[in-house]
């Protein structure tokens, strides 16, 4: 197991202060959970000593749900109820995927995210992924002996907004507090960079089970700056298995096969592929449900020929990423291989050939993503660590708006550093118009039909004016998770427009709440008690933070401003300490919000002050250079 030293031994926080936070690599084929303990990032293993959890979920006849190796073992007996590679379906509609080799009963919900009918009912890929996350959460809480404060969950860098949102929703369903969605190659760069004290420009080439990512990063003194990213969110080891599968059918002239046999042969194909990594040829034998016997031999040479177009498919995004970063091959200091599929010799050769240098393989390609995510989780949760990390990541695909004639107008270009906000002004074209609709798309192409629809926003509550008089400023913000949010305001009247979002491939808030409800059937009284306890915890932590801030930076405020904040503090404290019968979670939440709102200016001034301090220090440093 790879271990990463990120702080001096003995320097780590005392156990009772250490917040339990984990990094989760939610993979297409395999998932892992890792954490930082005593300054070391390590993968948590299950009771049987396995680090990997196969990303396979089986809905059993007795109503139970099986996740991992046992589910994987049952896949060819019970293919329709055993969901593999659910990640490929996240945020996708039925028309987006190749259903030909899938044994599932898909439910088409008019262009929304696809669903699968199982014996346990209709399941969305979000619910399937949530089962995997729950299993990892349980593993972590058992092994760490406490409740997690949060998790960093990794996603392919090339995931679009819908796929990211789906991942976040899955985490919410699993009861995880998401500290951050982190791009898989960036996580790998963190683990590699810290472990090797790497400085310079590096490429992360990540070919997993179902996704391909390429990221170019500049590593310098704990800053990991992504210069460009590219990829294919539907290309991975799975596709190599399919090529072998088709070849087997061709060779043994036994087509078409049923769902069980498809799963059986795909598993054989995968085994052969992995075998060929260390051997010159693989024998594939199997007896199908029809009694037909499959017995073929596949040589490395044949395998290479079958899959050379797949290998080439990874090089086009690689070129694009380099070009977007304005870099040549000579500028690249090292290429780090990530993902189980990079074990294939033809991949290593192709990468070495393209970059004119041997790729770096000194960290376990299966674990590096989870290890990096754990380091980030540890930092985000506020645990002290030796490494002062800063990750500057980018948006992988451009965001645009639908304009006249089915064209897309770009508002945020791909590879822009996050977080980013861009505003655009719109006007009404009818007298008295009070609503308008905005269609947001993601992708690089010019036509709406060639890009991915993210959402339609309905702006309502525009003050009625003559046509063209209203000026509606719509701000698109993409946060550090790579997720889009939209706000709008009519400038002349300063009226906030009300926005109704219809995500094209996501779950609505109501759907999520309904799923959450069916999961926990806690009694009403129980819920109230929990809500009150949570409101109090939030209130106390805000109070403490603000008291500290006042002590440190009170000089940034006028006496009057301090007085206003003190009043809100007193009001909140009165609410928290109200007698048991009067204690009311809503009142506490309102008072907390009021205190928070009263400190917005203070927070902004503190931010400015800390930026000024940092720059003042920097200039001195520059003189010394």
């Amino acid at each position: 197991m790879a271990l990463l030293q990120i702080s001096e031994p003995g320097q780590s926080a005392a156990p009772h202060q250490h917040k339990l936070a984990v990094g989760i690599d939610l993979g297409t084929t395999n998932s892992l959970v890792a954490t930082v303990r005593s300054g070391l990032s390590s993968v948590l293993i299950d009771d049987d000593g396995h680090a990997l959890l196969p990303s396979v979920v089986r809905y059993l006849p007795d109503g139970d749900i099986d996740v991992g190796y046992s589910a994987q073992a049952a896949q060819s007996q019970d293919p329709a109820n055993t969901i593999i590679s659910a990640k490929r379906f996240m945020g996708r509609g039925l028309k987006d995927i190749d259903v030909s080799l899938q044994p599932y009963h898909f439910v088409d919900n008019n262009n929304e995210m696809l669903q699968i009918e199982t014996r346990a009912g209709i399941k969305s890929p979000i619910e399937v992924s949530a089962e995997i996350l729950k299993a990892l959460k349980n593993r972590a809480e058992k092994s760490l002996g406490g409740e997690l404060v949060g998790a960093v969950i990794t996603v392919p860098a090339y995931f679009d907004d819908a796929q990211r949102q789906a991942t976040k929703d899955a985490a919410r369903l699993a009861g995880l507090n998401v500290l951050r969605l982190l791009n898989e190659p960036t996580a790998a760069a963190v683990a590699y960079g810290l472990d090797n004290a790497a400085e310079g420009t590096y490429v992360i080439y990540d070919l997993g089970g179902g996704t391909f990512d390429i990221s170019v990063l500049k590593l310098s003194k704990g800053v990991f700056e992504v210069l460009a990213t590219n990829g294919d969110s539907a290309l991975g080891g799975d596709d190599f298995d399919r090529r072998i599968f088709c070849w087997i059918l061709e060779q043994s002239k036994c087509k078409p096969v049923n769902a069980q046999d498809t799963r059986l042969l795909l598993t054989k194909a995968r085994e052969a592929k992995e075998w060929l990594t260390d051997h010159a040829s693989a024998q594939i034998t199997s007896i199908l449900s029809t009694g037909e016997v499959v017995n073929v031999s596949l040589s490395t040479k044949q395998f290479n020929e079958l899959t050379q177009t797949l290998v080439a498919k990874t090089l086009a995004p690689t070129k694009k990423a380099l070009r977007d970063a304005s870099l040549d091959i000579e500028d690249i200091k090292g290429v780090v291989l990530v993902g189980g599929a990079t074990r294939m010799p033809q991949i290593r050769l192709a990468v070495a050939d393209f970059f004119k240098q041997s790729p770096l393989t000194n960290l376990d390609p299966d674990k590096i993503v989870a290890l990096g995510a754990a380091i980030q989780a540890n930092t985000l949760a506020g645990n002290k660590s030796g490494a002062d990390l800063l990750l500057l990541d980018v948006i992988p695909l451009s965001l645009g708006l639908e304009t006249m004639g089915g064209l897309v107008e770009k508002i945020i270009p791909r590879n822009a550093t996050l977080p980013i906000a861009r505003a655009q002004e719109f006007t009404t074209f009818k007298d008295g118009q009070t609503a308008m609709s905005i269609h947001v798309l993601q992708g690089e192409r010019e036509l709406v039909s060639d890009c991915r629809s993210l959402a339609r926003f309905e702006l309502r509550g525009i003050p009625p004016m003559v046509a063209g008089a209203a000026r509606i400023r719509v701000t698109f913000t993409v946060d550090a998770d790579g997720l889009l949010s939209v706000s709008a305001r009519e400038i002349a009247s300063n009226v906030e427009a009300n926005i109704v979002v219809k995500p094209s491939y996501g779950l609505s808030e109501e759907q999520i709440l309904a799923m959450l409800k069916s999961g926990f059937s806690a009694a009403e009284a129980d819920k109230q008690a929990r809500a009150l306890a949570e409101a109090k915890v939030d209130a106390e932590s805000l109070l403490e933070a603000i008291k500290n801030a006042l002590q440190q930076d009170g000089h940034l405020l006028s006496l009057n401003e301090i007085k206003t904040i003190r009043e809100k503090i007193d009001a909140l404290q009165a609410n928290i300490h109200a007698g048991a019968g009067d204690a009311n979670s809503n009142a506490i939440i309102r008072a907390t919000e009021a205190l928070n709102a009263a400190t917005e200016n203070f927070a902004a001034r503190r931010m400015d002050a800390s930026v000024s301090r940092a720059l003042a220090g920097k200039n001195l440093e520059n003189l010394n250079l």
């Binding site: 949760a381 500057l392 977080p419 550090a480 933070a545 931010m607 720059l615």
Partner: protein
């Protein structure tokens, strides 16, 4: 929020020729203080302040890093709009030059000739560099109308370069 002067934000003198190394290191300093990763467990007010500062820093960095955008921004600080949909008058010789480039791109694209496209990219890059030299002088001597012309040209050249990159991508 009052609009921030990007040069003041990075503690840089308000000039066209700036020290890119200081820009970069001060950008990183600001992100170190303001990035949302530093405020995951903070109050909503602090998260808001973090988002505002971090997004402004990103916008400012992108603007000042690109010579064309930097020039346009400098002009905007003096009340001159360089990029205007309605008024993008160009000298006739530059229009000719631009048409030649566009034709060359189209021809090369039709002939799937990536190396010609790459040469064009380089040629325009060199032309851009010499425009930047002129801009330095024009800003230094406060010749705003000349600077506006050069800025428009530079931004146009950036657009042509982006189009060439798109064509190369298509052919790859």
């Amino acid at each position: 929020m009052p609009s921030t002067n990007y040069f003041e934000l990075f503690k840089l003198p308000q000039t066209f020729s700036l020290d890119v190394a200081i820009l970069e290191s001060n950008y990183r300093k600001i992100q170190s203080e303001s990035h949302p990763d530093r405020f995951v467990t903070a109050s909503p007010a602090e998260k808001l302040a973090s988002m505002q500062t971090a997004t402004t820093a990103n916008e400012a960095y992108q603007t000042l890093k690109s010579p064309g955008l930097r020039a346009a921004y400098l002009l905007s600080l003096q009340g001159v709009t360089a990029i205007d949909e309605k008024n993008n008058q160009m000298p006739a010789d530059f229009l000719m030059q631009q048409m030649e480039w566009r034709e060359a791109i189209e021809d090369a694209e039709n002939a799937s000739d990536v190396s010609t496209l790459e040469n064009l990219l380089e040629e325009i890059g060199i032309a851009g560099k010499s425009l930047q030299e002129s801009l330095k002088n024009q800003f230094q001597h406060n010749h705003l109308s000349e600077a506006t012309d050069s800025t428009r040209k530079l931004i146009f050249m950036d657009k042509v370069r982006a189009d060439i990159l798109k064509s190369i991508e298509k052919l790859d």
